[in-house]
């Protein structure tokens, strides 16, 4: 299985390549990708240097152009596709049907991967994108159980990539407007969920409060671990009880599923985290490389080592990990 790793900037790309990535994915410095954070992503000259570094190490480069252009901004998405083609990247990760049509019509040789933001969870949806735009691979939303992924592979017209590790989106990606409802900025259009400029931290009566826009997301007692305020991980009141109604602050970790993911025919494993530090990328890629190599070397005896789990747990949001929707009881 191919290990696809996040590159928010050149140091992260280097960390991913040096620690055993088979492919890296990155975005341009604008709204055309789903991690449009200030200080992240690649301008032209950085991209050239990064491509050279990856190629020298036989690592593929995928470019995410996976947000949804509004009419007045169409040319920016078009230019981004042109640029990805001109740089001869290994694939473009796309979500918008108009963008896919432009890419497939203009550059039939440019490999297209269906972004998780397109939210394809079944083989008929995959057939649409495959027949219309000849997509070669699809990244599957984090809403399917392992049994459902297995059934999907049996009928899928294209290779499938799944999320292996990182922040856990609990909603069907590309179809979640929670952040725009509260902050006015849409992940689908601007490429940012819970934008930093909408976040405030405030100490009041010995408790730490986090807000997104003006909405109270959580309150922490002294000594409690405070997390970055995202709406789906907030503590809210429902029926008079206060708890994490949507999800606890937690990360997805599927390392124990490596043998099963391999057995059912998953083509690639994706590590989330273009917004995280180069140190995070280095640590996570390193242990995943070790785990995949260990599995390849001796599949029958594969066991997740404690030291790998420790590394992953230490860098996880909320210092806990979950199998998420892959495990039916989570749902």
């Amino acid at each position: 299985m191919e290990l696809v790793c996040p590159a928010g900037n050149f140091p992260s790309l280097k960390a991913a390549v040096d620690n055993g990535a088979d492919a890296v994915y990155l975005g341009f410095k604008n709204e055309t990708n789903a991690r449009n954070f200030s200080g992240l992503n690649f301008s032209n000259n950085k991209l050239e240097r990064s491509l050279a570094y990856a190629r020298d190490h036989n690592v593929k480069v995928f470019v995410a152009i996976n947000t949804y252009p509004q009419p007045e901004k169409w040319s920016q998405w078009k230019l981004s596709v042109d640029m990805a083609h001109d740089y001869k990247v290994d694939a473009v990760i796309v979500a918008d049907i108009g963008v896919m049509d432009y890419a497939a019509t203009s550059y039939p040789d440019l490999a297209l991967h269906l972004s998780v933001q397109a939210s394809a969870t079944n083989n008929e949806a995959l057939n649409f994108y495959h027949q219309q735009f000849n997509i070669r691979r699809a990244v599957i939303p984090r809403v399917l159980s392992l049994a459902q992924v297995r059934n999907l592979i049996d009928k899928s017209p294209v290779d499938l990539e799944v999320f292996a590790f990182g922040s856990l989106c609990i909603m069907s990606e590309g179809r979640c407007h929670l952040s725009s409802y509260v902050t006015g900025e849409s992940p689908n259009m601007c490429g940012v969920c819970s934008p930093a400029k909408a976040v405030t931290w405030h100490e009041s009566a010995g408790r730490l409060e986090t807000r997104l826009s003006d909405v109270l997301i959580d309150r922490y007692e002294q000594g409690e671990n405070a997390g970055y305020p995202t709406l789906c991980k907030g503590r809210f009141d429902v029926n008079g009880k206060t708890f994490h109604i949507l999800e606890e602050p937690t990360s997805l970790n599927t390392m124990e599923l490596i043998p099963e993911l391999h057995a059912i025919g998953i083509k690639a494993l994706k590590i989330e985290g273009r917004q995280r530090s180069p140190a995070y990328v280095a640590q996570v890629v390193k242990v995943w490389r070790e785990a995949l190599d260990s599995f390849a070397h001796n599949p029958e005896q594969f066991l997740v080592r404690n030291e790998w789990n420790k590394v992953l747990a230490d860098v996880s949001e909320g210092i806990q990990t979950t199998l998420g929707a892959y495990s039916r009881p989570w749902q």
């Binding site: 079944n122 008929e124 994108y129 407007h177 206060t242």
Partner: protein, 304 residues
């Protein structure tokens, strides 16, 4: 032949969107019998949120569809938003193959199936159409009407319609705007209503039946943030564009969608009926309303 849609400042239509909640069969029948004599022109029928909900079987929906059509309504059969299994797909295919009714596609699976069958369809608000290039591809695949994604503002609608003129497809589709009700904002594998009662989804006991208009999520300061409805998360405030009906009509919007709620539906329909006839005296915008998305700001804002 691609049908031409006539757009000469005619009276916009009112539609009743699909019922998003889980009501008893009796309640559903009683509700739509009232709708039959209301002023809505189009009624969307069917389960769009959760495949486990089985109070209403397909023949029940078809019985209502026939009754409403006999009362002069255009009936559209709505389909699931999130399809995760082969049985979900089988259910979808069954609906797509029913003769005599147009289908609302709420996932690309339905778009694919209907396009293969060469049947005209409506795309629901969870089909991501953010520009006319996308609309163009879907029109080529038999889309007849689109419901704009709920988070898009009036400027984007204007942009899409003028881009559609440039692409020479403006007369080939109708535009419908979600205009009243709790906004569907997100879909998940997890059932939040079951989670709120500490129940697993596989043993949910159909707990969502207890909440005919969803279950409120409030901040720890008591502010309404969201409304949960099974695997769907909705807005905490009711979206209300009644004050924008005149402007939407001038922009070329063909249909205003009102989302079913358990109380006062006929009053809401009447309010929009008055508004589309130019009488906004009866228009009521309450404290629990929002309209921010239309005004290109936070969805939860109420812009006056």
């Amino acid at each position: 032949m691609i049908p031409q849609v006539v757009k000469n400042n005619k009276l916009p239509k009112l539609s009743l969107g699909p019922l998003l909640y889980y009501w008893s069969r009796d309640k559903v029948f009683e509700f739509y019998e009232q709708i039959a004599s209301s002023s809505v022109d189009i009624v969307y029928l069917g389960e769009t949120v959760c495949a486990k909900r089985r109070e209403m079987k397909l023949p029940d929906w078809l019985q209502l569809a026939t009754m409403l059509r006999n009362n002069g309504k255009q009936v559209v059969l709505s389909t699931l938003c999130l399809l995760e299994s082969q049985s979900d797909l089988n259910g979808l295919k069954k609906i797509c193959n029913i003769d005599g009714f147009m289908i609302e596609a709420n996932d690309m699976a339905a778009v694919q199936i209907l396009s293969q069958l060469q049947l005209r369809f409506v795309s629901g608000p969870f089909i991501n159409i953010y520009n006319a290039h996308t609309l163009n591809i879907l029109v080529r695949n038999h889309l007849l009407r689109w419901v704009m994604p709920v988070e898009l503002p009036k400027e984007t609608l204007q942009g899409i319609l003028s881009e559609a003129e440039d692409l020479e497809i403006y007369n080939q589709f109708e535009t419908e705007i979600f205009s009243y009700g709790y906004l569907p904002l997100a879909l998940s594998a997890r059932c939040f209503t079951a989670r709120a009662q500490n129940l697993a989804k596989d043993n949910c006991q159909f707990i969502c039946r207890q909440y005919p208009d969803g279950l409120a999520i409030k901040s720890q300061e008591g502010e309404g943030v969201f409304n949960i409805n099974g695997i769907q998360t909705q807005s905490g405030a009711v979206y209300n564009l009644v004050a924008e009906v005149g402007e939407m009509t001038r922009m070329g919007v063909d249909v205003f969608r009102l989302s079913p709620q358990s109380e006062d539906m006929l009053t809401i329909i009447d309010m929009f009926d008055q508004a589309r006839h130019g009488n906004i005296q009866t228009a009521v915008v309450s404290d629990n309303n929002c309209n921010g998305y239309w005004h290109k700001t936070k969805g939860m804002m109420n812009h006056v």
